[in-house]
């Protein structure tokens, strides 16, 4: 699995080129700052830096861009924790427990937990990539629409765990989200629900809609509050508490390992990536946790699960990009563009002839993850001061920044208008007990579900079961899904029995 000659070649490459190391720190800093801005995606941060890599050597250029990738991956989690705004779509699940923790005055701990989980998740993913890059690339080639559909269905199962106390409202929110996610032209060429608006042909703009549902709606609801954290004493930013959060993350190695594994596997599937892996990891952790009922109310395990998965997706996406030359998302597409700028074609022939460069990129990512810990510590300390800003200044300011971000993504008023529509919808949903997170998940997965269901229908000629039996990987995914549900039912029964026993003993 590991070629020692190439590993030694990678060390030689890295030790002979000081430039490869010089660009690590600026790359991480750019990524952190851009990722923390609502509306500035990882892709946008990398696209912004891409022209600067034209005059660099190949290895420093790739190291610089992957450093931005790593930095922006964690940067998106900072506003997710502090304001409930997922800076990127991969930080959606971080808001579920990170933001409630911040509202309870545990913002320092939540940021520490997020940072440590991200760093460990990123490291773990590159260790897996180092060992498994060759087998992973073999598996990815065998994944078809049915397997992708299975993954999306697995993501949809999250709706059940997000539904909260009012199951019917949660499921309605999720189903409504799925329907909105299918607006526009589907993969078979049918145009629905655009009400004559040209920009809806591509579907509802997801990031502005997500920002509106999750963030702007919360901000509107906070208009009668003075500070994000009501208790004045809890507003302090504490370095000790951030480090306490870091230590807390280390207490849950299983959650981190599970999150990293889900992140690598889902991240490696083109078109799925980190926006689903964080949700899946969150839902699996919630299912397995003894205190699953407290998820969504500020349970640190939720933050660990989400962050470990979204940061480790980077390793999975890199595996597909390096081994097959297939970009799993925008960020890896930009990396491929950087390859092209240096007259290098990614894919099987690249990995076959340049294993030393591949391993050098992997090793530099180890260094990035370690460096992210120290740079991130300083960054979250400074960013944490946002909780001390009075809400009368914060609410209009963040709404304007979100509006600018929505415009920057779409390049027209489509973004801000979508943001506004979904802000109002989100505010009303929160007010009447509908979990907006379920609508967000539905919206993210709607087109993916429909596209892969259609392709499966076309390939199978309508015989889903017969076709499914010929697809071992789809069966594996469905089996894993069923297994996780069964385990949840068993552990729930066990918990109920234990609680009944405890009640009988005390009674």
């Amino acid at each position: 699995m590991i070629e020692l000659n190439s590993v030694s070649g990678a060390f030689t490459l890295l030790s002979s080129d000081i430039n490869a190391w010089l660009y690590l720190l600026p790359g991480l800093a750019i990524g952190l700052v851009f990722g923390a801005m609502p509306g500035i995606s990882i892709t946008m941060a990398m696209a912004f830096a891409l022209p600067a890599t034209l005059y660099m050597e190949f290895l420093p250029a790739i190291v610089f861009l992957t450093a931005i990738y790593t930095g922006a991956g964690f940067g998106g989690s900072v506003p997710a924790v502090l304001m409930g705004i997922p800076g990127t779509s991969s930080a959606v699940a971080t808001t579920f427990d990170g933001y409630p923790m911040a509202r309870k005055g545990q913002h320092s701990e939540a940021l520490g937990i997020a940072l440590a989980s991200s760093v460990i998740g990123c490291l773990a993913s590159y260790v897996m990539l180092f060992v498994l890059i060759v087998p992973i690339s073999g598996v990815v080639l065998k994944l078809g629409p049915l397997e992708m559909f299975a993954v999306a269905v697995w993501g949809m199962l999250l709706l059940g765990s997000l539904a909260g106390t009012q199951m019917s409202r949660g499921l309605l929110a999720g189903t409504f989200g799925v329907l909105l996610g299918t607006v526009g032209m589907n993969t078979a060429g049918f145009v629905r629900g655009t009400i004559g608006i040209p920009w809806l042909l591509d579907g509802v703009p997801q990031i502005p809609a997500m920002m509106g549902l999750l963030a702007a709606s919360q901000l509107i609801g906070l208009i009668n509050t003075t500070y994000l954290i009501e208790d004045e004493g809890s507003r302090n930013i504490s370095f000790a508490k951030i480090l306490g959060g870091v230590r807390q993350a280390f207490r849950y190695p299983t959650i981190i390992f599970r999150g990293s594994l889900i992140g690598v596997i889902i991240g490696a599937i083109p078109g799925v990536g980190s926006s689903i892996s964080n949700l899946l990891s969150y839902s699996e952790t919630k299912r397995n946790a003894a205190d699953g009922d407290t998820f969504g109310q500020g349970n640190p395990k939720g933050v660990i699960a989400a962050e470990a998965a979204n940061s480790s997706s980077e390793g999975g996406a890199m595996a597909t990009m390096l081994a097959l030359g297939i970009p799993g998302g925008g960020a890896t597409a930009i990396l491929l563009a950087a390859f092209a700028m240096h007259n290098i074609v990614g894919g099987p022939s690249f990995i076959a002839h340049n294993k030393d460069i591949v391993y050098a990129v992997i090793f530099s990512n180890f260094a990035q993850a370690v460096l992210l810990f120290f740079v991130g510590l300083g960054f979250v300390y400074v960013a944490g001061y946002v909780v001390r800003v009075p809400l009368r200044f914060l609410i209009p300011s963040v709404l304007v920044v979100s509006t600018f971000g929505a415009y920057a993504i779409e390049g027209s008023s489509a973004g801000p208008i979508t943001l506004w529509v979904f802000s109002v919808l989100g505010w009303a949903m929160v007010r009447y007990g509908y979990p907006v997170a379920a609508a967000v998940v539905g919206l993210l997965l709607g087109s993916l579900l429909e596209g892969n269901l259609l392709r499966t229908n076309q390939i199978s000629g309508g015989d889903f079961i017969g076709y499914g039996l010929e697809r071992p990987w789809a069966l594996v995914i469905f089996a894993l899904m069923l297994g996780s549900i069964l385990l949840q039912v068993i552990s729930k029964r066990r918990r109920v029995k234990q609680a009944a026993l405890a009640a009988a003993q005390t009674g």
């Binding site: 409504f176 299918t182 009368r392 009447y432 429909e450 259609l454």
Partner: protein, 155 residues
């Protein structure tokens, strides 16, 4: 708001559910109007029917008994609080729809002034100063890192 049978109506929730089901009905009719082929309706039609079934389950919650403790989340909220929320929502609509018409600078400054006032900033000089500085910093700061130019009128 109580009916004769001792039940009350949560009007806001009723409006929300009407909007959700209305959108689903309109979407389903539009999709069926485009084509009745499987490749068009494979996911949309079952999902829409599921949404109607779920909406039927939600409906009783909109008409709770007058003595029920449900929907307590709006308790303690005055009419004034709600008016402020609606002003902020209207101002955000104004910002979203006028950015390209009046320019990002004017639209942003106007929204900031209204937003700060609605959110509770009583010092007019602090409001105007913060709004002006924030607008300038944001337009020049964000403008340099975004790929699309912001239409401006004054700056």
């Amino acid at each position: 708001m109580s009916t004769k049978s001792g039940r009350k109506v949560i009007w806001g929730h009723l409006i929300l559910l009407t909007v959700i089901t209305g959108v689903v009905v309109a979407y389903l009719l539009d999709a069926r109007g485009v084509s009745l082929r499987t490749n068009n309706l494979l996911l949309v039609q079952p999902a829409a029917i599921l949404a109607f079934v779920l909406a039927a389950f939600v409906l009783p919650g909109i008409f709770p008994r007058a003595d029920a403790a449900e929907e307590a989340e709006t308790e303690g909220e005055t009419r004034g609080d709600l008016v402020r929320v609606f002003i902020l929502i209207a101002a955000l609509a104004g910002l979203a729809f006028s950015l390209e018409v009046v320019g990002f600078d004017i639209a942003t400054f106007a929204f900031m002034v209204i937003g700060l006032a609605v959110c509770g900033e009583r010092r007019w000089w602090a409001n105007l100063l913060f709004s002006a500085v924030f607008t300038v910093v944001l337009i020049y700061g964000y403008g340099t890192i975004t790929p699309f130019p912001f239409p401006l009128t004054i700056l």
